[in-house]
Amino acid sequence: MSETVSDKIAAAPAIAAFARRDRLRAYEALPWLAAIAAYFLFPTYLPLGAQILATTLFALSVDLILGYAGIVTLGHAASFGVGAYTAGILAVRGWGEPVTGLLAAAIVAGLVGLLSGLLILRTRGLTLLMQTLVIAVLLYEAANKATSLTGGADGLQGMQVWPVFGIFTFDLFGATAYLYALTALFVAWLIVRRIVYSSFGRSLTGIRENMLRMQAIGAPVYVRMVVIYAVSAALAGVAGAVIAQTTQFVSLTSLGLDRSGTILVMLIIGGVGRLYGAFIGVPLYMIAQDQFSQIDPVYWFFWIGLFMVLLVSFAPGGVLGSLARLTQRWRR
């Protein structure tokens, strides 16, 4: 068999169908239309909106390793927090230019991700879960102790973030923050989508499905996982930096176990490994939290907890998983 293939085979419909999997579909415009519509419909909800968008970016970064490479992490706040502190410390120390701040956050968080990935990705399953957790706790303690750099338990105060491109000041209404976060999310989505549909992305799916076989077909599984872990860490770092810059504050909670846990919850609610789970789960969770805690600030935890238990028991796969099941049933 040679690389040149007969025309008959090249024209097989199966090949065409297979090759066109990555084409843009109409529904993929929905999240962006919704985000732009929300900007005009709810001008007084933009601060929340900006945080939702940045958190969606964070969830997207988790989906990349969890949904595609099958790495279960309870410590992705480590990357988020490193990014947040990078952007924050730059802005405190006199460099408040936001876009370069994002890049710096991506680089630093990516490097930390790369190093920790090199250390921990030899193992799988529960042990890996524990190691991700411990790395996050370790960074949390380090930030807690490095008071002169991070402000410790008081948080990093005195960030001076300059206007975006020297023009758009971060305003009280959160309009700039919203559009800034939306742009960051959009760029990240382009990158993630690209990666997911690339040969590399397909090989990640292979790793998730069957790591053993992936090794047997000659894939350097460890290297692939380290690479995607670093990329995901860089994106999470950008998410952290966006939140840091738009709220002009970084606190220890950005590295906390809470954040690692809730981002998982949001993503799983939306649906894992489907690229759009983050876009559904995060807004759902955060809007519900916002509304519930206005009605009943104290017992929000009860209802979200109950929802999670019911979801697992009756609708595994999250919203998108359930939708997929419904449409399948419909077609039959």
């Binding site: 001008p43 007084t44 807690n144 700039t176 909670t253 206005q294």
Partner: protein, 400 residues
């Protein structure tokens, strides 16, 4: 493209929301409360909330006819500045509140402060005690206290009352650092000698190792600062475990370590502790008796207010006083002109006033001893230092 979109949208939302930013046009005055209702530290938020609601419910009838005060309550879930800042932002932009208030945590307050400046919204700090916070925005007044206000005088008191050597043990965050610095300064100024200090993490389950260090150093007294709530109880238990009292080491602290409502939980170790505080339920003042009676009626005989509650109560008193004086209509600047000189000679904690220069509170600081009275532990005030200004601001004048 994006630029035009953004500018247009900002302009448009200003039109929508802007008017109410500068003036309270309606007769309803909206007060946005940022407080902690969930998370591990919710109990202190609960105490503050009860103080706020108690004043609100008992004084609504005193408002001028046609004027209403509405509370808009938000949960910041703990020391969580991003959330607190967003909530404050939403309160200003979405709910168009006329006054911001509440806030347990200094980091949260520091995150909100720039917004109050930007939006010219008065911000009544009801608890957060970080000394420098009022300087971030000219629209802040504080009705609680600062750590310096208590730790510095109690340091002086200790040195004057036979304590020669001391040690400090504080939580590793700004208020803790404030306490350490203030106590040491007061204590050494009066000739006392510091033997050392230890700082422990803000969230810490067991304090025994730290208390043992204190015990090893054998000082006459130890100054302790931890945020009120479960940390206070834990640190006192640890002091009992290692036997500080038996070793003859006196415990000196700010009020945070012996909140009135926690005293039964802390138990016998609390007896003999000397604290500087701004409020004790044992305070023998008519206004306090009235306050206590109202409290017990509203929340039951087993519920006890503490200094968190009083901060909320007095903060609401300031806001109500403003609303009455302006008949429910005021701009941010008008409000600040009024609040800056606000005073109440009859607060449950004694006479209080706002220092027009620093917008911080001036109040009596009481030296109290925790003791058994009628089978219950109480904080008995036995010495009063009248009209204390925040010493930190005296030592660190604002550079203009």
């Amino acid at each position: 493209m994006i630029r035009r979109l953004s500018t247009a949208a900002v302009a448009w939302s200003v039109v929508l929301a802007g008017v109410s930013l500068t003036a309270a046009t309606a007769q309803t005055v909206k007060v946005g409360i940022v407080n902690t209702y969930s998370g591990p530290e919710a109990q202190v938020g609960d105490q503050l909330d009860k103080g706020i609601k108690l004043y609100f419910n008992t004084h609504q009838k005193d408002l001028p006819a046609g004027v209403k005060v509405e509370l808009v309550v938000r949960d910041d879930t703990g020391p969580n500045p991003e959330v607190a800042k967003r909530l404050a932002q939403e309160l200003i932009v979405r709910d168009r509140v006329n006054v911001l208030a509440g806030v347990i945590w200094s980091p949260n307050a520091a995150a909100i402060a720039p917004l109050s400046r930007q939006a010219k919204t008065p911000f009544v700090l009801m608890n957060a005690a970080g000394a420098a916070i009022p300087r971030i925005s000219p629209y802040i007044i504080r009705t609680s206290f600062t750590i310096w206000q208590q730790a510095y005088p109690v340091g002086k008191w200790a040195a004057k009352n036979g304590i020669k050597t001391a040690y400090t043990a504080v939580s590793d965050f700004i208020p803790g650092h404030d306490g350490e610095a203030a106590f040491s300064k007061g204590f050494t100024e009066e000739g006392g000698k510091m033997l050392g200090s230890v700082r422990f993490p803000l969230a810490n389950p067991d304090f025994v190792p730290f208390m043992q260090r204190v015990k090893d150093a054998k000082p006459d007294a130890v100054f302790i600062f931890v945020p009120g709530g479960k940390q206070a109880t834990a640190v006192m238990k640890a002091a009992a475990e290692v036997g500080l009292k038996k070793a003859g080491i006196k415990i000196i602290a700010t009020q945070d370590i012996v909140p009135d409502e926690e005293l039964p939980n802390i138990g016998a170790i609390a007896e003999g502790v000397i604290t500087a505080g701004i409020y004790s339920t044992a305070g023998d003042r008519p206004a306090n008796k009235e306050f206590l009676a109202a409290w017990k009626q509203a929340y039951g005989a087993n519920s006890t207010p503490d200094f968190f509650s009083v901060g909320g109560w007095d903060g609401m008193a300031a806001i109500f006083s403003l609303v009455k004086a302006k008949n429910g209509k005021f701009t941010g600047d008008e409000a600040m002109d009024y609040l800056k000189t606000w005073k109440d000679p009859n607060s449950p904690r004694g006479p209080i006033s706002i220092d027009p220069n620093t917008r911080d509170i001036i109040q009596n600081v009481y030296i109290r001893r925790t003791e058994m009275k009628d089978g219950k532990l109480v904080n008995t005030e036995f010495e009063t230092i009248p009209a204390v200004k925040d010493p930190w601001k005296e030592f660190n004048p604002e550079k203009k």
